[in-house]
Symmetry: C2
Subunit: 428 residues, 2 copies
């Protein structure tokens, strides 16, 4: 075989960390999985039954997904103020696949926020594009600072590069924060000024703790150029079922992008799994048992995230208030000197290694999210702390105080001890 070309991308950091932790657990080690954002909750019974009932569906169906799924997704968005013609909805085998196909369909280079989800930059490289990193404003993850975005795009264009899109995450992974409405509006204005497509990953949209203050979609402010993606992976824990949806813009440019996306989809995946589409159509209709389950998981995430966050702030880490998701992104910069002196810890990778090797707590360093190695930040996910069995996980969903459940209390205490040990001012 030919000498292998340089690896185009590394393994997804979240999935790699997950598999490494699974191997350690299999080897008998006691480990706490806080590296990946996979939601450790069972399939809601109504959806399980509907998948079973759809087990005779084996036709591909239309490339962009079944009419029922597209209509249900359009209704889901309409209830959030961003209604869309179902003909502009494209379903795919996970929003990860849709995001990648969008980059192929849009072409050119793409701006990604720093920090941001592990796969945007890797997908850009696989699509033959250069990811242009732009920092988010302090305390507001997921949306590149609009002024820095303008500067970066103009500089890149002057250098002959071709940025055509900006990816945003609203609410944000990895920080659990939400870009302010003002930032989203300015982002939309700059995107219009620079003629950029906004790809808005809203997979955490249903996991905003304060349901009275939902995250604002750029689609509200730049409807003619914003593509929204979401799925059932986070709100309903159906990651392993692989179905996501994209909402393409109205108007002629949106029509063209839709046609290009469907063409790409037809060549690289054909259609999302048919039985899952049928369940997804039901779920996006938001019947009571679905909204109740989402509400319960949102409350559970919030309770556990806040308890874990308390340990980090008590240890002296800096942490923007977490307002959504099951993530926190503590910054140990106030402890820089002592971390270096006591443990030889000088960056996020060192923090993650310390927590993993000394305490069996798996987290991801900031470098996995596009930050420099010296950034003393890590991403911590609470979504695997809810139990090891369906019984425990259902109890966690139902509990008025999930922190009173022994398995959750113990896990949270475990993180607490690990963080306290990291923050100690005297050599161990």
């Amino acid at each position: 075989m030919p000498p292998p070309p340089p690896a185009p991308v590394a393994m997804s950091a979240t999935l790699a960390a997950d598999e490494a932790l699974a191997r350690r657990r299999l080897a008998g080690e006691r480990v706490l999985s806080m590296a990946s954002g996979e939601i450790g909750l069972p399939v809601p019974p109504a959806l399980r039954e509907r998948l079973a009932a759809a087990a005779d569906e084996n036709a591909y169906g239309p490339v962009p997904g079944s009419p029922a799924l597209r209509e249900a997704a359009a209704g889901y968005w309409a209830r959030r103020g961003i209604g869309v013609d179902p003909g502009r909805v494209v379903a795919g085998p996970g929003s990860k696949s849709l995001l990648f196909a969008l980059l192929l369909a849009i072409g050119g280079d793409v701006v990604v926020p720093v920090p941001s989800w592990v796969s945007y930059a890797a997908q850009a490289r696989l699509a033959g594009a250069d990811p242009l990193p732009v920092r988010t404003p302090p305390g507001e993850g997921g949306v590149p600072d609009p002024e820095l975005l303008r500067e970066a795009v103009l500089t890149a264009r002057a250098a002959g590069r071709d940025p055509r899109a900006v990816v945003v995450t609203v609410p944000d992974n990895p920080t659990g924060t939400i870009a302010s409405p003002g930032t989203v509006r300015r982002l939309a204005a700059v995107a219009r000024e620079l003629d950029l497509v906004v790809v808005s990953d809203e997979i955490y949209g249903d996991l905003v703790y304060d349901t009275g203050a939902p995250a604002e979609s750029p689609a509200l402010h730049a409807p003619e150029r914003t593509v929204v993606t979401t799925g059932l992976t986070k709100n309903l824990a159906l990651g392993g079922w692989r179905t996501g949806v994209a909402r393409l813009p109205d108007g002629e440019p949106g029509r063209e992008l839709h046609a290009r996306l469907v063409s790409v989809a037809s060549q690289i995946w054909s259609s999302p799994p048919a039985p899952v589409q049928t369940v997804a159509a039901y779920a996006f209709g938001e019947p009571p048992e679905v909204t109740e389950r989402i509400a319960a998981s949102r409350r559970l995430h919030e309770a556990v995230v806040r308890a874990v966050a308390g340990h980090f702030t008590a240890a002296g880490a800096r942490l923007a208030p977490v307002r959504a998701t099951c993530y926190l992104y503590p910054d140990f910069v106030p402890l820089r000197e002592q971390l270096s002196r006591v443990h030889g810890v000088r960056g996020g990778d060192d923090v993650a290694r310390f927590l993993s090797e000394r305490h069996g707590v798996g987290v991801l360093p900031a470098s996995a999210f596009g930050e420099p190695a010296e950034a003393l930040r890590i991403r911590v996910a609470t979504s695997r702390l809810y139990g090891d069995t369906d019984e425990q996980r259902l109890a966690a969903l139902a509990a008025p105080d999930p922190l009173a459940l022994p398995w959750i209390r113990d896990s949270v205490a475990w993180v607490g001890e690990a963080v306290a040990s990291l923050a100690t001012t005297t050599a161990p």
Copy 2:
């Protein structure tokens, strides 16, 4: 939004044709779908039940697929003389997605046979590669003529291009033929000489009519460089379930390619749908009800393909003996003069248009498979003729003489009339 760049790829010709025919049918028109190779047969009951039982599986699981699925796929290949370490098996959401990810993982340009499946060349372009077309030997579809392959690769390299892989289809779509063992051996030798990866799409492997003479995999002759892909889309009609598997080579280069493929998969699809993986693990184990269903569908394809082929040869078209799949690829070149004179038909596109517009028979022109527009060839798929209901389709599978069933008899007669009308020597 920025001015759209030139469309990187067109919509998959099979899927586009299918949707166009579905629209015509919906509008009340009487149409016969012979354009796409989607297998119109129901889910085997044992697999339907297993999917229902797996409806509580919602975890991603390992990127390359569950251990059970990888072991079952390795066993499937071992029974065909190409055993493999399950650690070298990668499952994906359909072999279409796996083929694309392989092109991304291998990098460089790729040789594709002419004619060949509609998506290879499109996928190469999406992966940023140039597809290098090389003709297959007369009467043997799916494998580029080894001598022409050598010439094309050396010429391309001399011109600064970087061909690193050759895709083959064994047995072949679109022609329903099988490359001879001698051709496969020479292909393997040339691939070794030129240091090319062979990507062998063997999705039709179980649909060889003479089970005593299976198609020979290049993995037998160039094991160190051959990747084999397959799935359950064709043998078990599970296209809509989206699961395929790839068998990576042994040895160090195979290990590297495996790691690269898993990295790409982790960034663009995460893992195949979990409940489907569980069923696929069962199916690749080939229990009796699965092998019986595959045998029944193979007999059905053969009976109907032969009957349809008879109409084409009776009309004067040239046709290599169909030995596998549900396809035939008749060549109207012996009728060139009369087709032009009587109907103004001057290429495969004209033939397809004539059959569709005059007779409601949907087929694909040779141009969809990379052939020039003047090639008077079309691909005809019989896989949708088996019935409109599950009852009819099960009866077709069970029938000792499927051609005696009225709905199949009528459809075959319909094609026969359409072909006879095309071949008429006098103006209509």
